[in-house]
């Protein structure tokens, strides 16, 4: 299971990358996509509305053949961009969860929240406890 060491993670299996311009990219982890299986439907917020998301509250839905899964905001902030390609090719999340399968970019409300997230070692320990 791939767990890049330059990302931060939540216990709900989202990842966060701090970009050079201070914005934050959010996706779901390799572990999450493998647990979900074939992803066939993605519902994202509308970037044009620049909606606020609140830490630990659901802001998107990812559905696989088997189940629907809420995606929780890892930090609070404003949605400045969404991955427009995903609704047409949701299985990109399966194929490239840390790359082309990203979900949204956020303008963080409080950068310190990122520091509170798990690092790769802590996340790796979490998924090894969960099994598979």
């Amino acid at each position: 299971m791939e767990v890049p060491d330059d990302l931060r993670y939540t216990s709900e299996h989202e990842w966060v990358r701090v970009e050079p311009d201070g914005t934050v990219t959010v996706g779901i982890t390799d572990y999450a996509q493998s647990q979900l299986g074939d992803i066939v439907f993605v519902e994202l917020p509308k970037a044009a509305d620049e909606p606020e998301v609140t830490r630990d509250e659901p802001f998107a839905v990812v559905e696989s053949v088997k189940a629907a899964s809420d995606i929780y905001a890892p930090i609070s902030g404003k949605v400045i961009e969404v991955n427009e390609e995903l609704p047409d090719s949701p299985n990109t999340i399966n194929e490239d969860p840390y790359g082309d399968g990203w979900l949204v970019r956020l303008q963080p409300k409080n950068v310190a929240e990122v520091e509170e997230l798990m690092d790769s070692d802590a996340y790796e320990e979490l998924i090894s406890e969960l099994g598979e």
Binding site: G37, D38, V65, K66, N91
Partner: protein, 378 residues
């Protein structure tokens, strides 16, 4: 395997684990839900062939001079018209016209019937049949000693026939004793995917040998190992009912388009009066097909006529259709609502309902069942 410790294991369980399957508990059994991608497994069955372990299903033999009479008493379809070597879809009805289980009845010999039942209902069915036994018909549970492997898809017949040429002439819904790769078994041209194919009832101790032989023989044809996940998407596309979803103690066969499998012409049949009444009264609910927009409606989702506050029914099965690339659902809805949508369709209009998908009302267009029409046999 962590998800399924303590569950019963089919004779093929080690094969599934070795092949990298994800194992889940289903009806008390440790079963493969998928080996890799459900979508890829599904596609293999529609375009080439897929191999399923369905050994968790139950097998009950009813044997003896009055075996036919017992089948006629306990099952909705008329086993008396079944010739040896033929199979029929049937149901076990209750006195009040509900359904204990849906089954396939195979008439192996004139006085010997094999009844294949759902894993989740196997114990109930066996007790039900035994409680209503008659002299001259013995009831034998063959479940533990029987392995069951299904091979389904347009290339299934070519693969099986390479191992057993005599099976080429076995008709749809036919069954026969056969030898496949030196293994004596009962082969039936039945299945649960909407495709051509075979179900092979083999001795449990030969299941691994048969499985490996089929895997090897079908390799170049694109035969894929398939789990319960693909089995479910395939059967929903084909609008095949699943007990606990489209069938149950409180659902009449007439409500779910299965009236054709009820031959209520036998006053001695369990549920006779209730089923005759149900047939005459018209269905108060009706199973319909929906293309849901903007999400997948899962089982239990409420169905509405647009704008109406009260639900008109509920989704019985819903998934993403891999073949059509869109969400589909079957729903049991009020008969009047179903009739209105049928009338709209007949006039060339789009019949639209709404489905509650995770708290949001989504548009759902009524469509004919099955969702995917069986392609003509090649």
């Amino acid at each position: 395997m962590s998800a399924a410790t303590g569950a019963r294991r089919t004779p093929l369980c080690d094969e599934h684990v070795a092949a990298g399957a994800r194992i889940v508990e289903f009806a008390g059994w440790a079963m493969p839900v998928q080996y890799g991608s459900i979508l890829a497994e599904h596609r293999a069955v529609r375009e080439a062939a897929g191999l399923f372990d369905v050994s968790h299903m139950g097998e009950v033999e009813i044997v003896g001079p009055r075996a036919e009479e017992l089948c006629a008493k306990l099952f909705t379809n008329d086993a008396r018209v079944l010739a040896p070597g033929r199979a029929q879809y049937s149901m076990i009805p209750t006195e009040d016209g509900g359904v204990v289980d849906d089954i396939i009845v195979y008439r192996l010999e004139h006085e010997r019937f094999l009844v294949c039942v759902n894993a989740s209902n196997a114990a109930t069915d066996l007790a039900w049949i035994r409680e209503r036994a008659i002299d001259g018909a013995s009831i034998v549970d063959r479940s533990d000693e029987t392995g069951l492997i299904a091979i389904q898809g347009p290339k299934a017949a070519a693969i099986v026939v390479r191992l057993a040429p005599a099976l080429a002439s076995l008709p749809r819904m036919g069954c026969t004793e056969a030898e496949v790769g030196g293994i004596t078994l009962v082969a039936a041209r039945t299945g649960y995917t909407g495709e051509d194919g075979f179900e092979l009832f083999c001795p449990a101790e030969r299941a691994v040998a048969l499985w490996r032989l089929l895997v090897e023989t079908g390799r170049d044809d694109g035969l894929a190992l398939c789990g319960l996940g693909a089995r479910d998407t395939l059967r929903i596309e084909a609008a095949l009912p699943l007990y606990g979803h489209e069938l149950g103690l409180d659902i009449s066969p007439y409500e779910v388009r299965l009236g054709w499998a009820v031959k209520a012409n036998r006053p001695g049949m369990v549920g006779y009066e209730a089923l005759v009444r149900a047939a005459a009264g018209g269905a108060t609910r009706r199973l319909i097909g929906l293309f849901v927009e903007g999400g997948i409606a899962r089982e239990g989702a409420a169905v509405f006529t647009p704008g109406a506050p009260e639900a008109a029914g509920r989704v019985t099965s819903g998934t993403h259709s891999p073949t059509l690339g869109r969400p589909v659902a079957m729903a049991l809805v009020d008969g009047k609502v179903a009739a209105a949508t049928t009338a709209a369709s007949a006039n060339g209009a789009e019949a639209v309902l709404e489905v509650d998908v995770r708290g949001k009302r989504r548009r759902a267009v009524v469509t004919r069942l099955p969702f995917c029409v069986k392609r003509p046999a090649a």
